[in-house]
């Protein structure tokens, strides 16, 4: 699917167009749209009655596009962008609920009728071979022969043919009402030479029904062949009932697997309160323009991505990042559409809209993730493709073997075994095993702020053995801070700091900003005649004092005696601190130790990953000493330092040697090539940048613990997939031979078609339920 974000000015919108009936209408609308100023491209689709228009939002508006269509005589309106999705969603849900209720009613009625049919059939079976049959279920039901006889003695007095007629009518009703769709669908498939679960059920119950029909109306055929004219009406009814129960439960469980995605898609507000020409007005979200000022009151959902221009407030971003603590937003802060402003009024300038917005991209990403296939699924797919023909072949073989090898040959027993084979076989469980796990896992991940791009990355992530952290911005905050300072004894601390800070405030250098931040909020004197000294520092005049700030070497070069700070500076350098010194009026005045600080939980996360048996490596462009110092602090022994940006790829490649599987965690921008080279690239999302191409995992929460969450989720999901596949395979591999009667010669055990249908109904439900367990799984 196309998820290329539009640039702010080039926007895309899809408008409904009603009234088009032919290609000429389509051409009319298309012409009208293309002729509208500002439209770069327009596609009109006759089949969906939609126009997709690419336009320059600076030159035209959705309202004008709607007007252009309406002028042609066809009818369009401004779409409520999610309304469509929500309405379709709700319609689908309503339909599903209706279907579920209908299926449930049919299942219940069939099972009640089936139970009645069994009671009514008792007299027919009484005294027959049933009590000594190999069919476990049949033998068990015969225990009820006596109780039924004493409860309903009249049943045993009725003419057996009348009972048969009643059973025939009931079965025919159930088949044509409750089970009708099995036959219709199987027939449609047969016409395309395609077979699915319906084919198996239709042939299985159909054969049992036809056999019973012949036994009812032409018993003499059976007498001639030396077989008892047994009937299997009650089995047909109960099989249909049980399969319907299974269908209903499976359908319900399946909708739950995509719940997380649907909840996410519903987060988007449908309107925004914007200020245009000094007037506040509520407008549909589709007509919000790039640069509009949006008013968000406390408790409201922020409608679009933007930057705070005015006001401040605590914003709850948990729905997108999984972070439960609200984040304080002040002017200049980025906010994400669909998050909730908890307190304080905010004015926001809209920056990203429509398909390019963070929420839309997360939803697209998740849709694609849920649509992706995990490699482990391939075997299951290969089996599914030949499953039904193979099962039909086994059923035919079963029938023939029973006819040939049992003495005397019993048509009824042979048919029962063949029908049991058809009914117990369940391709659905195999088809559901992996996709349901991927769906639930991607939902679980999103709830924790971990976006995984699909089944294949999930599988690869579960198999990694090496975790590589980029140092700057990943293990560390990426913001240098003054961690220690020294002020010359003859200086007034406050005055010195103030002068130094006012010089540094003129610089954009990160080290300068660290010093300004350290000096804290104070009224800074104006620095005059500021001069940059070739990458070594700055010099300026403040309040009549000559101030130099820069490296220790710069001070020495400028003729300043730095002896007083030497001991301190050497100690800092040993700890891999960056040192900035300052001189005031030719005398050494201050020195600052600056370092990038570790993220608060970096050490815990590294320890925890090591405990999980992962090899943790740090990658850094810094000098070996600096990198190793950070490595020591955070508990990483293996440090690869002095790596140039393009050297990171080689570093990853060498770690991958000897079949090691490497996950690389970086910032997604500078580390993109290394992220792509690694088996799994994890990008820490910064602000609204989520769709990092190079990374297969995006961590929405600016928190290293997410790395561990992602790995734990992948490993647990992999386990679930394996359990599901094992169960689905084992179920068929064990169930089909038992149904065919392989245990009969040795143990006298047979599986009745009724038990087979119960097993089949619950096999796929159990697989989906197992996947759903991932929703509540703990990730730490």
């Amino acid at each position: 699917m196309n998820s290329t974000p539009d640039t702010p000015a080039a926007t895309r919108i899809t408008l409904p167009v009603d009234g088009m009936t032919c290609a000429a209408c389509q051409a009319n609308v298309q012409r009208a749209l293309t002729a509208t100023a500002g439209v770069t491209r327009a596609n009109v689709n006759l089949m969906t009655h939609e126009a997709t228009v690419h336009y320059d939002s600076a030159a035209t508006t959705p309202e004008k596009l709607v007007a252009a269509i309406n002028d042609t005589g066809y009818v369009s309106r401004l779409p409520d962008p999610n309304a469509d999705a929500t309405v379709a969603d709700q319609a689908r849900e309503q339909e599903q609920r209706r279907d579920y209720n209908a299926v449930r009613t049919k299942a219940i009625v069939s099972l009640i009728l089936g139970a009645a049919a069994m009671i009514v059939s008792m007299p027919l079976m009484s005294g027959s071979h049933a009590a000594h049959s190999g069919d476990v279920f049949l033998r068990w039901t015969m225990r009820f022969d006596e109780p039924v006889r004493s409860a309903f003695p009249f049943l045993y007095a009725i003419d057996p043919f009348r009972v048969l007629l009643a059973l025939f009518v009931a079965t025919t009703l159930v088949m044509t009402w409750a089970g009708r769709h099995f036959y219709v669908r199987a027939w449609k498939g047969l016409r395309h030479r395609a077979a699915d679960m319906n084919t198996l059920i239709a042939i299985g119950t159909g054969a049992a029904y036809l056999y019973s029909l012949s036994a009812t109306f032409a018993p003499h055929w059976f007498a001639a062949a030396g077989t008892r004219p047994d009937v299997y009406y009650e089995a047909v009814i109960i099989i249909i009932g049980l399969v319907l129960v299974g269908n209903a439960m499976e359908a319900r469980a399946k909708t739950e697997t995509t719940q997380a995605l649907r909840q996410l898609a519903r987060l988007q507000p449908s309107s925004a309160r914007i200020r245009r020409n000094g007037q506040e007005q509520d407008v549909p979200i589709a007509s919000v323009q790039h640069g509009d000022i949006i008013i968000v009151r406390p408790g409201e959902r922020i409608p679009v991505d933007g930057v705070v221009t005015h006001g401040s407030g605590a914003v709850d971003e948990s729905m997108l990042t999984g972070e439960s603590m609200p984040v304080e937003k002040i002017a200049g802060a980025r906010v994400i559409g669909a998050t909730v402003n908890q307190s304080g009024a905010l004015e926001i300038e809209a920056t990203t809209l429509g398909q390019a917005s963070t929420l839309a991209r997360i939803v697209t990403l998740m849709k694609e993730a849920q649509g992706s296939q995990a490699p482990i699924q391939r075997l299951a797919d290969r089996i599914s493709a030949v499953f039904v023909p193979v099962v039909l072949s086994i059923a035919i073989t079963t029938f023939a073997a029973w006819m040939i090898f049992t003495e005397p040959a019993s048509l009824g027993a042979s048919l029962t075994a063949a029908v049991a084979v058809l009914i117990i076989a369940c391709p659905c469980a195999m088809g559901l095993a992996v996709p349901t796990a991927v769906m639930v896992a991607s939902g679980r991940g999103a709830a924790a702020g971990v976006l995984i791009k699909g089944g294949e990355p999930l599988e690869r992530l579960a198999g990694i053995d090496t975790v590589v952290f980029d140092k700057t911005g990943t293990l560390t905050e990426g913001l240098p801070k003054v961690v220690d300072s020294w002020i010359a004894a003859d200086q007034d601390r406050d005055a010195a700091l103030g002068w130094i800070a006012s010089v540094e405030s003129k610089s954009e250098h990160p080290l300068a900003r660290a010093i300004v931040a350290f000096a804290g909020s104070r009224d800074l004197a104006v620095a005059d005649s500021v001069g940059a000294l070739a990458g070594k520092g700055v010099a300026a005049t403040v309040d009549g004092h000559h101030v130099i700030v820069g490296t220790a070497a710069l001070l020495t070069e400028s003729g300043v005696d730095t002896a007083a700070m030497t001991t301190q500076v050497e100690a800092w350098s040993k700890d891999a601190r960056t040192v900035v010194a300052a001189a005031i009026d030719g005398k050494v005045a201050a020195a600052f130790a600056i370092a990038d600080t570790l993220r608060p939980n970096a050490k815990d996360v590294v320890a925890s990953l090591t405990r999980r048996g992962l090899r943790v490596v740090m990658l850094s462009g810094d000098r070996q000493a600096t990198a190793e110092a950070i490595g020591r602090q955070v508990g990483i022994g293996e440090v690869i330092a002095e790596v140039l940006p393009d050297g990171k790829v080689d570093a990853i490649r060498s770690l991958q040697r000897n079949d090691h599987h490497v996950a690389m965690i970086g910032d997604g921008l500078n580390d993109a090539p290394a992220l792509a080279q690694a088996d799994i690239g994890m990008a820490m999302a910064s602000g609204t940048d989520i769709a990092t191409e190079a990374a297969s995992v995006t961590l929405m929460r600016n928190d290293l613990a997410s790395v561990e969450h992602a790995i734990v989720l992948a490993r647990k999901t992999m386990n679930t997939m394996k359990q599901n596949l094992f169960w689905a395979f084992a179920y068929n591999v064990v169930g089909i031979p038992i149904a065919a009667g392989v245990l009969y010669p040795a143990f006298g055990i047979l599986l009745s078609p009724i038990l087979a249908s119960a097993a089949m109904a619950f096999s796929s439900v159990s697989v989906v339920s197992n996947s759903l367990r991932l929703r509540g799984v703990s990730l730490s």
């Binding site: 298309q30 089949m47 339909e95 498939g189 030479r193 649509g371 023909p389």
Partner: protein, 125 residues
């Protein structure tokens, strides 16, 4: 084994051969689709009813393909369309038209229903 038994065995073998030929021996002729829409998008219309008709579609490699699935049934087997090569797993509404769009890279791209029972392919040529 009696002659009747031999007869049963022979019939079973013939029946098995027929079943496998019937379901697995199907060879659909590919249908070629070209860009007809003014925007250069290749429209592919597929009927979903007991299978995909047509089931094998040739499109120009590299073309943007707009695949319209006209589903005329509510059989849960065709509830979803899956095109693994393009990471697509989309719901397909019953008795309605659903559109999926992708760019067809060269080669054969299998598509199937959610459970892999119904099959088709897009061939980028």
């Amino acid at each position: 084994m009696s002659p009747a038994d031999w007869g049963i065995a022979a019939s079973a073998i013939v029946l098995i051969a027929f079943v496998n030929w019937f379901f697995l021996g199907k060879q659909d002729r590919p249908v070629a689709a070209t860009a007809a829409a003014p925007d250069g998008v290749v429209d592919v219309l597929i009927r979903v009813e007991g299978g995909y008709t047509p089931s094998i579609i040739e499109v120009p490699a590299g073309a943007r393909v707009r695949m319209t699935l006209d589903r005329r049934e509510d059989n849960p087997c065709s509830d979803e369309i899956v095109i693994p090569d393009f990471n697509i797993r989309n719901p397909v509404a019953a008795y309605a038209k659903t559109i999926v769009e992708f760019t067809a890279t060269p080669g054969r791209h299998e598509f199937s229903c959610g459970m892999g029972m119904l099959h088709g392919a897009i061939i980028g040529k």
